[in-house]
């Protein structure tokens, strides 16, 4: 339907079409299945797997762009990035890389893609249009979680084996700071307004909070056993505890752990779906996804996916901006 036809429609019908289009654009979760070399696509509103897409060997990291209609998948053992067209649900490109890519994230404007090379202590910046490598940033040991700040100025990197977070100043093109956190930082998340950076420390079993302007740890919160990743809703922070088979819920204002929710075994990746106010958790041990209602923090569904689901990164697209 063209724009002109839309304008000519009676107002009520026009509203109905808009609603229908919103329903079609309901968010999807892209769950990487390390053991089956695939990505399960889940309709977030329906709690159903729509399809599974074959990607490279041992996929782990994921970054989704609503605007580009793309999901980027890091194939750790395949040493590549699979680019999925989320409308046709086909892999349109496999970008070969000379390293083991794990963490992956888009820049805030979604024009750049950042990839962490686990063994080479560096981040590469790719042009999301041409897939050419633009820049490389030397960071700490075993770079893991990646996250772009909402002001577009910084890329945060969790250096797992250096016990710090590298702050890459993207305008200057250099690492401007290394902030010491807990032992073995892995996953990163931020508050919805971007003012708080959350760092999950695996061995310390804590969450470090780094408030803007991102120069020092402003608080540290004890969580569960061997935590991996975090996600933020409007008022809470959710952390997966891989050896507790649970998710710790932290009040974002008081920084108190308010509850611990049992989920599938070895939970890794976690993301917030704003459209449904739900938390999605990938369970590596049970090959499924647990869904938590963020309004009451109850487990409301478990959805079977592929083998060894990890979903490391922003696997549900943020609202277009």
């Amino acid at each position: 339907m063209t724009h002109l036809e839309l304008i000519l429609l009676p107002p009520i019908l026009f509203a109905q079409i808009l609603l229908a289009q919103n329903a079609l654009a309901a968010p999807e979760a892209y769950i990487t299945n390390q053991g089956s070399d695939s990505v399960s696509v889940i309709d977030v509103a329906q709690h159903q797997v729509v399809t599974a897409i074959a990607v490279g060997k041992a996929p782990a990291g994921v970054a989704v762009s609503e605007r580009q209609h793309r999901a980027y998948i890091s194939n750790v053992e395949g040493q590549s990035i699979s680019v999925i067209d989320t409308e046709t649900r086909k892999v349109t490109k496999e970008i070969a890389l000379a390293g083991a890519p794990l963490g992956i994230a888009l820049s805030y404007d979604e024009n750049k893609l950042f990839v962490a090379y686990w063994y080479d202590d560096k981040i590469v910046e790719l042009d999301a249009a041409s897939y050419q490598i633009l820049r490389e940033f030397k960071v700490g040991k075993s770079p893991s979680g990646l996250l772009a700040s909402l002001d577009g100025h910084y890329l945060f990197v969790a250096n797992r084996d250096s016990n710090d977070v590298a702050v890459v100043d993207l305008r200057k093109g250099e690492v401007s700071n290394r902030i010491v956190v807990g032992e073995h930082p892995f996953g990163l998340a931020q508050s919805l307004d971007g003012s708080q950076l959350y760092v999950v420390n695996v061995h310390a079993e804590t969450l470090s909070i780094i408030a803007a302007p991102y120069t020092a740890v402003t608080d540290t919160i004890k969580v569960g056993a061997h935590p991996y990743c975090a996600a933020a809703s409007k008022d809470s922070i959710y952390v997966t505890n891989t050896e507790g088979d649970s998710v710790s819920v932290i009040n974002a204002a008081s920084h108190q752990v308010t509850s611990t929710i049992k989920v599938g075994s070895v939970p890794e990746g976690i993301a917030y779906a704003a459209a449904t106010n739900q938390i999605y958790v990938a369970s590596w041990g049970d090959d499924n996804v647990s869904v938590i209602d963020a309004s009451n923090n109850k487990l409301i569904a478990q959805i079977a996916t592929g083998a060894q689901s990890r979903a490391f990164g922003q696997f549900i697209a943020a609202a277009p901006h």
Partner: protein, 174 residues
Amino acid sequence: MKKLLAITALFIPLLAFAHGPTPQKVEQEIAIDAPPAKVWALVKDFGNWQTWHPAIASTSKLETKDDGVYRTITLKSGGTVYEKLRTADDTEMKLKYEAEEGGAIPAADYVGTITVKPGATAGQSSVLWFGRYYRVYKLNPPIPEGQDDESANKAVGDFVTAGLANLKAVAEKK
């Protein structure tokens, strides 16, 4: 000298990196015709797994440290593995333990959980052995033979299969 360098090259990566990026999984379950309490008594006895695990020749005296109880198991095939008991929960009948790196089983950062549950009928049990670990090699490919995912999976998988089979045999003895 060449040999020394090769040995050094083998050990430096182990110290430099905590583990690789791709965890591996073992998950096996067996039905046992014996009550859960009887099976759990065998599993929780961390210092005596040689009484039911056919790959273990002997277990050292248990060593209590600040962060847990440790043992060294000696394998019948040769070599030892230094292991730590994390938890043994009598209520859940769940034992969690980990293996220190560099032992006779070619896997890294192994964490295993054995859970004893009631079986299909009274007097029967179901035992689940779940483990997460990594391959030994921790650098970019090429991955040397014997240090890859396949080697780790085979060694851990065989250990679990043999253990569960004989746990069943021992527990089912009248």
